[in-house]
């Protein structure tokens, strides 16, 4: 399978006070199209930093990142915004739904950045909600949903614009075991049945078992790469 993501000699450092802290030290990584990768490692190992770089939320200090044939490390902030809107779906640990919008309107948000009409946006959002099993909750506000349902809405929002890549940061970190299993099963279904390439950060070995590949980082370096489910 062709590589969707290519990470080459990527370094990332931050300035904190007068000190430069290097979080990633020359990471090399290839992720095939249709892969489901779990990034694991202790706190501070650089896994979320690497996820943010792959998702175009941040830019590396050195090295190159190519996604679907495009060097995203060279894009400006505005170009990265446009690129993310077209190619990446995000799932966050705390769902990050907008509390004043219904589930339907939350899911529609990424489509506001497309040329779809209002009716088409509603139709696409309804399909995405149906796919995550929440067609009957479209009019509910986030506070009227359980944690698992909120994360399903967040997943529907992530897939509604049919992105190339799904980037998930601790998607089960705020859920109980049973609900976490349901969410992981949903992500696995999106990967297997809909061909979505997923890169996920998790501390949870159980969640990582749903991935087809598990990568371990420690102190900013990839130390292990193993097959999963």
């Amino acid at each position: 399978m062709a590589d969707l993501v290519q990470v080459r000699a990527v370094t990332k450092s931050y300035r904190r006070g007068g000190e430069t802290i290097e979080v990633l030290h020359g990471v090399d990584l290839d992720i095939a199209r249709g892969d489901f990768v779990a990034l694991m490692g202790p706190s501070g190992s650089g896994k979320t930093t690497l996820l943010n770089l792959i998702g175009g939320l941040d830019t590396p200090t050195g090295g190159a990142i190519v996604v679907d044939g495009r060097r995203i490390d060279r894009l400006s902030s505005g170009e990265l915004s446009a690129w993310r809107a077209a190619h990446v779906g995000f799932v966050f640990q705390f769902y990050n739904l907008l509390p004043v919008l219904s589930a339907q309107r939350n899911v529609e948000l990424p489509l506001l950045l497309t040329s779809l009409s209002a009716a088409e946006r509603r139709r696409h959002a309804a399909i995405a909600l149906a796919l995550v099993g929440l067609a009957d909750r479209a009019r509910h506000k986030p506070r009227e949903l359980s944690g698992g349902q909120e994360q399903r809405v967040a997943i529907a929002r992530a897939i509604v614009s049919d992105p190339t890549l799904l980037v998930c940061d601790e998607p089960t970190g705020d859920l109980d075991r049973a609900t976490a299993g349901e969410i992981m099963a949903l992500l696995q279904m999106l990967n297997r049945e809909h061909g979505k390439t997923i890169v996920m950060v998790t501390h949870d070995p159980k969640a990582a078992e749903y991935a087809s590949r598990r990568l371990h980082l420690d102190k900013g370096t990839l130390i292990a790469d193993g097959a999963g489910a």
């Binding site: 809107a85 990050n96 004043v100 919008l101 506001l112 950045l113």
Partner: protein, 401 residues
């Protein structure tokens, strides 16, 4: 911004989200609204005072009428025109005549009398004007609204409507005492809200006798030809006569000059007070918008992560700040209108050292000016927080749960 329509949709959507979350930030939002309402309310009220004062003086007089003062005098109180001069002036052909051939002119005496405001004991300078019979013919705007006109040769007065409202003891039938003389109030008159409504009028000859004067202060007359040529003819005739050292001004020009100093002072006072309040309100708006952004940084970061641009975030925060400012401005303007418009007040005119009664005038232009101030404060208070919102580091803000 790739497509203007989509950019507008982004702005509209983010603005709607911001506005829908307002009830959760009611306290801080009210600080902005109330602060700006205070600024606009005070600004419009004070300027309405200046506007009312200016309007009262500016609406006094007609362009076809002139006031004649001693050369070098800029107000009636510092002027002096003797009897012979008034006779010569009235006889000039540039002065209009009535059907019987009498000149449409009135030589007038102005003195200040002490009267307390209603409910107070401290005396105020109220203008007392002695007028000749021609005064009623030349001032066709004058209407008796109660009682009757004073009789010639008798110590009777008629009182301007606003003077009667503001000062004690001026009801029709009352007797008032000035300088050892008692006067009976026999009527109340109106002159369309102009400065004469703050005055007390009596027969000029009786007034001169009571106040022991031998001359007048001014002469007011109707021009035979109200055009510039008519005024020039009168001025030239006066200059030709060595016995007349007289200045001629059209009435509106004269009263506009009388309004100048105090109207400017009130306006400067209004702007100064409002400027200080505006600085406070701007900080209030800044604080509110910064806290609004702090409380929504995860939402903003999420929208940025999804792909929303920085510009729509800036514009939407600015729109929210401007809307809050607009609500505050409208509330302040409405309060000023409800509580001030038409309210009567009297104050000392520095040019004449006499009390002028006038009504606050909250005009559409003043309300517009109040809203402009409100929007300016909103813009100043919203801009920096809006820029901060757009520059929020997405990866950091996403973790600020």
């Amino acid at each position: 911004m790739r497509h203007p329509v989509r950019a507008l949709a982004q702005i509209a959507q983010i603005t709607l989200i911001n506005l829908r979350s307002l009830p959760q930030r009611l306290g801080t939002s009210l600080v902005v609204v109330v602060g700006i309402a205070g600024v606009v309310g005070v600004l419009v009220s004070v300027l309405a005072m200046g506007e009312g004062f200016r309007h009262t003086l500016a609406s006094t007089g007609r362009p076809g009428r002139v006031i004649m003062l001693r050369a070098g005098s800029d107000a009636e109180l510092s002027s002096g025109v003797d009897r012979d001069q008034t006779t010569l002036l009235a006889a000039l052909p540039a002065i209009a005549r009535d059907g019987s051939g009498r000149p449409l002119a009135s030589a007038e005496l102005v003195v200040m009398v002490d009267l307390p405001r209603k409910g107070e004991s401290h005396p105020n300078n109220v203008p007392f004007r002695g007028v000749q019979p021609g005064a009623f013919a030349i001032r066709d705007e004058l209407r008796l609204v109660e009682g009757r006109a004073f009789r010639r040769g008798v110590r009777e007065v008629i009182v301007g409507r606003k003077a009667a409202q503001q000062f004690a003891g001026l009801d029709v039938g009352s007797r008032i005492a000035f300088r050892d003389s008692d006067w009976t109030v026999v009527g109340t008159f109106a002159t369309g809200g102009d400065v004469h409504e703050s005055e007390i009028w009596a027969d000029a000859e009786v007034a001169m006798s009571a106040f022991r004067r031998t001359g007048y202060q001014s002469m007011t007359a109707t021009l035979a030809d109200g055009s510039q040529a008519g005024l020039a003819a009168l001025t030239a005739a006066i200059r030709r006569d060595p016995r007349l050292s007289i200045n001629v001004l059209r009435e509106p020009e004269y009263y506009a000059k009388q309004a100048g100093v105090l109207a400017r002072l009130i306006t400067v006072l209004g702007y100064t007070v409002a400027a200080f309040m505006a600085i406070g309100a701007t900080f209030g708006a800044l604080n509110c918008m910064y806290s609004a952004i702090a409380s929504r940084q995860v939402e903003i970061a999420t929208l940025r992560a999804i792909g929303f641009g920085g510009a729509p975030v800036v514009v939407s925060v600015m729109i929210e700040a401007l809307l809050l400012a607009l609500v505050g401005g409208a509330a302040g303007g409405a309060l000023a209108y409800v509580y001030c418009d038409g309210a009567s007040l009297s104050t000392l005119n520095f040019s004449t050292f006499s009390q002028v009664a006038f009504d606050f005038r909250v005009t559409p232009a003043l309300l517009g000016q109040g809203l402009a101030w409100a929007l300016l404060i909103g813009a100043a208070g919203g801009l920096l927080p809006a820029i901060r919102a757009a520059r929020l580091p997405v990866t950091t803000a996403l973790r600020a749960v």
